[in-house]
């Protein structure tokens, strides 16, 4: 008794887990909760989402609603326990359902097709009847021919007064849905392997520097097991525009100090070494403490605070290439570091590099200098601040923009050109190892192929019963055709109609001869 109850419980749990109702339910739950996850910004600062929620629930209720949502895991939903649980239920459902159904499908594929009584052919989803003035054998031959020319393998069974042809095509097409489902399970497996045995991190490498770790978070590093060096980083632009054409860095892999690999990587073209892939993902200028600069406006003698963000960087890297064009002297290009000074040859004028901005623009109308916050870390239009000292004048600071190159110095018309700033960009790399990705790719191929087969190849079965209308092997014959398919019934019906008309044309043709 007890034993039987246990089996019942097991049995009904199994039924439940195999049911398509559960599948429909999880489809709906996953879809609906995903919608919430796309509206609420995932992993964002609380203030952002509170502002968002205020639009739906009003300012007063928003913080409370936020707390409830946050407690339910909606702020990091796709990693929350309950979302994971629905994904697990989804896969268990799929596995149980497949295990439950597969043996039946397999048996029905393996079971040889049998001739059927005329009545059951008449009640098939597709059924046709016709009469022909001919003999059993002629009708049989013609149908046989027509079926064979459509590549059906025909079997036949004869009785006293009748003969039956039966055939089927693509019986293994019934398995394709299992492959579709299997590929979904494989994707889950691949994702779990990737999450368990792989890692996703990032690292910024300053030009000329090396690293042997990547970062999983600002405080957690991951040893690579080898060293990567960034030789240089470069952004290429379309013509004179600010639309980037390519972000590229030259990376070198070093093992025990020896170079083992070198590659220029670009977006969509990463470097891969020992299973670890380095993707070009961002770049920037080494960023330090900001300081404000006080300059004197030469015309109004008013002291103004220059607002462009200045970037402090270590002195040992980065150099400013400056071309000097003294009024009556030799053109001269020099490279300087921050804090370095230079003289205009043949004069007492002295310049010192005091500041730098990766992006500085001069407003065309007002002439004011400014930096868009958005581009602050990008080397769009570098500018250098130079303090100029000339005898008998108060020192002042002027900005020299790379995009706006030649500047006449107020003192005596000497020209100075800021050619370039070299050496303190860094390349931002995504670093990933995903041992599950191959399983995912294989699963994707399987899914693509099997979905296609699933929709466009169907298992088609035909029965054709040919019988004398009156007993005694005489008179016209009655032909009953039945068909079954697992998909695209309308198409199959058309195919059968065609087969019939071909066969009956041929039969008529023979009786005329």
């Amino acid at each position: 008794m007890e034993e039987k109850e246990k089996i019942d419980i097991f049995e009904s749990a199994w039924r439940f887990l195999a049911s398509v109702k559960l599948a429909i339910f999880t489809f709906i739950i996953i879809a609906l909760s995903s919608i919430v996850g796309t509206i609420v910004e995932q992993g964002a600062e609380p203030a952002k989402n509170i502002a968002l929620l205020a639009k739906f629930f009003g300012d007063n209720a928003a913080p409370t609603v936020y707390n409830i949502f946050a407690a339910m895991g909606f702020m990091d939903m796709y990693g929350s326990w309950w979302f994971t649980m629905f994904l697990v239920i989804f896969s268990i459902n799929l596995i149980v359902c497949s295990i439950d159904r597969f043996p039946k499908t397999w048996r029905s594929i393996k079971k040889p097709q049998r001739p059927l009584p005329e009545n059951s052919i008449k009640s098939m989803p597709i059924r046709k009847e016709l009469k022909a003035k001919t003999t059993l054998n002629v009708a049989k031959d013609e149908f046989m021919n027509v079926l064979k020319s459509s590549r059906y393998n025909v079997s036949e069974a004869s009785e006293d007064n009748s003969v039956q042809l039966y055939t089927q095509k693509n019986k293994y097409a019934r398995l394709t849905v299992y492959v579709v489902h299997l590929s979904i399970i494989l994707i889950f497996i691949g994702a779990v392997i990737g999450a368990r045995y792989g890692f996703k991190g990032y690292v910024n490498i300053i030009e000329g520097r090396t690293t042997n770790v990547a970062y999983l978070s600002p405080s957690e590093s991951y040893p690579l097991g080898f060293t990567v060096k960034c030789n240089w980083y470069e952004t290429q632009y379309y013509g004179d525009s600010s639309t980037p054409m390519e972000f590229m860095s030259e990376l070198v892999v070093l093992e025990n100090g020896r170079e083992v690999m070198k590659k220029v990587i670009e977006v969509n073209n990463p470097l891969k070494y020992k299973g670890i892939t380095f993707f070009q993902s961002s770049y920037g200028v080494l960023n330090g403490v900001m300081d404000d600069f006080v300059i004197e406006d030469t015309e109004s003698k008013r002291q103004t605070t220059l607002q462009p963000k200045l970037t402090k960087f270590p002195n040992q890297i980065g150099s400013f290439v400056i071309k000097l064009l003294p009024l009556n002297g030799q053109e001269n290009t020099i490279a300087l570091r921050r804090g370095d000074s230079f003289d205009i040859p043949g004069t007492d004028i002295k310049g010192t590099i005091v500041g730098f901005s990766p992006t500085l623009d001069r407003d065309r109308m007002t002439g004011a200098l400014g930096t868009s916050e958005y581009y602050r870390d990008q080397m769009l239009n570098p500018a250098v601040a130079i303090e100029v000292e000339a005898p008998g004048r108060k020192p002042f600071v002027g900005w020299y923009l790379k995009g706006d190159p030649t500047w006449i110095m107020p003192e005596g018309g000497h020209e100075l050109e800021f050619i370039d700033f070299r050496g303190v960009e860094y390349t931002g790399l995504q670093v990933a190892r995903d041992p599950g990705v191959w399983i995912i790719y294989i699963a994707c191929i399987l899914m693509g192929v099997s979905l296609y087969l699933c929709f466009f190849i169907s298992n088609k079965k035909i029965w054709i019963n040919i019988a004398h209308e009156a007993p005694g092997k005489k008179g016209p014959v009655k032909i009953t055709v039945g068909g079954r398919t697992n998909r695209n019934k309308l198409n199959f019906e058309k195919e059968i109609e065609k087969l019939l008309s071909h066969a009956s044309d041929a039969i008529e043709g023979r009786s005329k001869k």
Binding site: I24, F27, T38, Y238, P244, N268, P270, F279, Q280, V437
Partner: protein, 368 residues
Amino acid sequence: MTSSSFFDISAGAYIAAVVMYVIFLVTRNRTVGIVATAVICFGFVSQSIALIIRWVNSYYFWMEAHTSSGVVEGILRGAPLRNLYESLIFFVWCTILIHLIIEFKYKNRSLGAFVTPIAALALLFIDVSGVSKEIEPLIPALQSNWLLFHVFLSFIGYAAFAVSFGAATAYLVVVTESRTEKPYIFWSIISGVFLIVLLGMGIDFISLTALERGEIIRNHFLKSTLRSSSSAVVLVSWIASLAIIFSIWYLGLGLKKVFSSLNLTANMLDDIAYKSIAIGFPLFTIGGLIMGAIWANSAWGKYWTWDPKETWSLITWFVYALYLHARFVGGWRGKRVAILSVVGFVAVIFTYLGVNLVLSGLHAYGSG
């Protein structure tokens, strides 16, 4: 002639075709029907020419900037699937193509009244939303063959879903019997909303042309009506919208009579709705989800990040998977699956436009 004048011709032809298909539905005049088909073929040819010209131009545009690039690379990078504008145009092209195939195969042109408005809607949307029509340089993340196949296949899939939507709506019209039936209310509201958006964008378009001031066009989507800055206009628009939905609901039964006299049978519409999904689902799976994931993996090392665009594609995929299972295993038939097909297409629209315009994310590369 330039590519954009051919586009303008085709847009004009498609919008004229909408009117003619509707007249055809009402009058059932054969000549009108033939003219409607002719106009749409003409529009299709001129759009194809425009696409080719644009492709050639983008090819030279690419080659000019990338002097070391090979010819094949230039052809791939020049393919007119590079931004929201081009993808909308391609979507319209595919939808019209599938529509013509169906019209030819089923020898029935009444479905045009349901499919052409979708194309017209997309074209009007381009003008009122102010998406950029320029040939723009490709930013680095978009220079990928995977991305190209991804966009190409997804949009054929979307177009197939659009046709399924048209057929499913028509199916609901044909099979519902009374105004109090839920599926009847559903289809009258859905087609009402489509009509309202179509009209609203038409008004946007007219007011935009009237006020043309040479300024940069920003997002004017429904700004002349439902999203107007004047609350009186908003109020009137809401009343008008409700009136439209109400009239469709009230007059819808008449439409059913028209349909049955046009040989639009429930079986045929159901068959078209299913077949379009049978074509769209594998294409969307392979192109939309799989190739998108491969592209993301090759660009960022992550094939799936749950960003809004990816998540919405997954939601769309689930709705159509639901359709297939409900239909083939769950035993759902008729109205219920037709409603799912409609819901699926609403999800498609959101994946395609809503995410770019409403939500922002990794993929929102075409925002106006």
